[in-house]
């Protein structure tokens, strides 16, 4: 694997150049994937928790028009929105976030090829970074990711001594991005990088995801669900901060009697209205059923359909839950039920 080296200063300068080239550059500042504007944002995140929100918005915005319409008594005119056209770059993506686009890509390309997602995904370049953070909510290794995995990254940063970074070139897209800026880099030393990577402790798996899936296969009606997330408030923050939750609602917004737009908005299965039918019937009428859906979608349905877990083990949903519900802990309990 080709490797280069860059100083932090040059990396930020490089980001500024991309901003000047008209790209949207997001930098992990240790708390947030912040949109680079002032050209002086700091890159952190090696030892910090995953930022509060993932950056899934770059491929799946919280709200977006999918068409505009004009109507008269005789006809309806549809106007397609412009999608993409701006390159998105993320500097310092956590390995648990870097995997998100490839996981979501499966559902957005399953029967219908979703151009809203695809155009943006094609235009995104993910610069991942090794991760030294691990807390009680992290479980990336249990879902096949690791703090040093380059999966989903186009370039991969390895923090070295004295604010230097080893830069591994993972994809052609990554290679192309930096091709114009060779002067910012020096030759890499893969041995030094390798030493850093091997010094990062790889957390032990908290559960066996296959066991969890096989339990879920058989326990849709289990009593387990009634006492598992009884304190859940249905606030949905878990789905909104999740790097791979991808459910949306479609709604028409009229500007006037003759014009309007059709919007695609984030939605979440923990919200009671999510499955409420026009008739008034709600198949998921209670919170335990909604929580069962959340766990089953992540560890069974998505695996059945796309051979992938719909979870990267980032732990955001648990860290932010106002009712202290920890999906890792719950899935761990399911795993123990199988022993």
């Amino acid at each position: 694997m080709e490797e280069k080296r860059i100083t932090k200063e040059n990396l930020i300068k490089l980001g500024s150049n991309w901003v000047n080239d008209g790209m949207n550059v997001y930098v992990n500042n240790g708390k947030k994937y912040t949109l680079m504007k002032l050209h002086e944002e700091d890159l952190k995140g090696f030892e910090e928790a995953p930022p509060l929100m993932s950056y899934k918005e770059i491929v799946f915005p919280k709200t977006e028009p999918i068409l505009y319409y004009k109507k008269s008594q005789k006809e309806v005119e549809i106007i397609e929105p412009k999608i993409g056209g701006v390159k998105n770059i993320v500097i310092g993506a956590k390995p648990c976030d870097a995997k998100s686009i490839s996981i979501m890509s499966k559902v957005f390309n399953w029967d219908y090829k979703d151009s809203f997602f695809n155009v943006r995904a094609e235009e995104s370049v993910i610069i991942g970074m090794a991760c030294k953070y691990n807390d009680e909510h992290c479980f990336c290794t249990s879902v096949g990711i690791s703090p040093v995995s380059t999966d989903g990254s186009d370039l991969f940063l390895i923090p070295l001594a004295n604010d230097n970074f080893g830069v591994r070139i993972i994809s052609d897209k990554g290679k192309e991005l930096i091709s114009k800026y060779e002067s910012y880099f020096t030759n890499g030393d893969s041995e030094e990088s390798e030493n850093v990577l091997s010094s990062i402790p790889i957390p032990e798996k908290k559960f066996n995801a296959e066991n969890v899936k096989s339990w879920l296969d058989k326990n849709f009606e289990s009593e387990f669900w009634n006492t598992t997330a009884e304190m859940c408030l249905g606030c949905s923050q878990c789905a909104f901060v999740c790097p791979v939750c991808h459910c949306f609602d479609i709604v028409d917004e009229d500007y006037s009697f003759t014009e309007g737009r059709r919007m695609k908005n984030w939605d979440a299965c923990q919200n009671g209205l999510f499955t409420k039918h026009a008739s008034g019937h709600n198949p998921r009428d209670k919170q335990p059923k909604r929580y069962r859906q959340r766990v089953s979608h992540k560890f069974k349905y998505y695996k059945d359909k796309f051979d992938e877990y719909l979870c990267t083990g980032c732990g955001r949903c648990s860290r932010g839950c106002p009712a202290g519900i920890d999906i890792g802990e719950i899935v761990e309990r399911i795993d123990k039920l199988t022993n």
Binding site: M231, C235, S236, A239, F240, V251, P322, A323, G324
Partner: protein, 284 residues
């Protein structure tokens, strides 16, 4: 004074309550909501300076309170919400049993050495409606920096256009997850105005317009009702300082009408009562 665990255990054993909503430990410096149903469940119950949640929100969930008298562990600030719910006829006092304590304040967040903002100038550290009293554990905390007064002065000095822009910017980060509403004990409407679609009063899109209308309408609906527990702000994944606008409205209710929500169960609600002496200087 009775030990919390023993109290909960005996309440459940004697059948005085069918369940107790309380806290249990969640890691070292954190707690989480918990329901004790059997006397054995009482073993896990705690009440300390890490009990940040306002558990009164669970009293608005039918599936939790149905089926007999409910015990609830509540700090003074949480009792204000219980009283507000009684004032608004959402719950009856005889259906609940409040277990409270002289409050030491709670930490701003996990492992924090300062109080949560809601504890600043708290007037209900001594509980004002309870049925059983226990001891609250935990270490002494220090005062956080007061950011509110300065921000309030700044906003009050703005003209209406500037205020509009100020709040538009504040709410632009909203992602419309409605975690604020779900975590709020006073947001108990069976159908929220934000979920109505015929007609749609509030754009469901997280656009600047949709975000401003949602957050403004929520603030209006909580005026004279919000007790300042700040659970909305704690739940917000977009880190919007929601307590600010709520506190502004709270102060207005206090200054203009001398009304504070959740202080006395006999007092009629601000919105539900009329007094000829009410201030009307804001009607122009």
């Amino acid at each position: 004074m009775t030990e919390l665990k023993n109290l909960v255990k005996s309440l459940l054993e004697e059948g005085k309550v069918t369940k107790v909503i309380g806290y249990r430990m969640y890691g070292e410096n954190n707690t989480k909501p918990y329901i004790a149903v059997t006397p054995n469940d009482a073993e896990e119950m705690v009440l300390n300076t890490d009990c940040r949640n306002n558990l009164s929100v669970y009293l608005t969930k039918k599936e939790i309170i149905n089926g007999g008298k409910t015990g609830i562990v509540a700090k003074g600030c949480d009792i204000r919400n219980i009283i507000a719910l009684i004032q608004e006829n959402r719950i009856k006092e005889e259906d609940i049993l409040i277990i409270s304590a002289e409050c030491k304040g709670v930490g701003a967040e996990k492992g924090s050495a300062v109080y949560a903002n809601k504890c600043v100038n708290c007037s209900v550290k001594t509980p004002h409606l309870y049925h059983e009293l226990v001891e609250m554990k935990g270490s002494e905390l220090s005062q956080p920096k007061d950011k509110y007064t300065e921000a309030k002065e700044k906003v009050l000095a703005m003209n209406s256009g500037e205020r509009f822009e100020y709040f538009s910017n504040m709410f632009s980060e909203c992602i419309k997850c409605y975690a604020c509403r779900q975590a709020c004990p006073m947001c108990y409407c069976e159908q929220c105005i934000a979920d109505m679609s015929i007609p749609r009063w509030i754009e469901s899109s997280a656009t600047d317009r949709g975000n401003l209308s949602w957050n403004m309408i929520r603030a209006f609906h909580l005026s004279g009702r919000c007790t300042g527990c700040n659970e909305c702000e704690r739940a917000c994944p977009a880190e919007i300082p929601l307590s600010f606008i709520n506190k502004l409205m709270y102060d207005t209710a206090k200054e203009e009408f001398n009304y504070e929500s959740g202080m006395n169960k006999e007092t009629p609600t601000l919105i539900g009562s009329y007094n000829t002496k009410d201030n009307d200087n804001f009607i122009q």
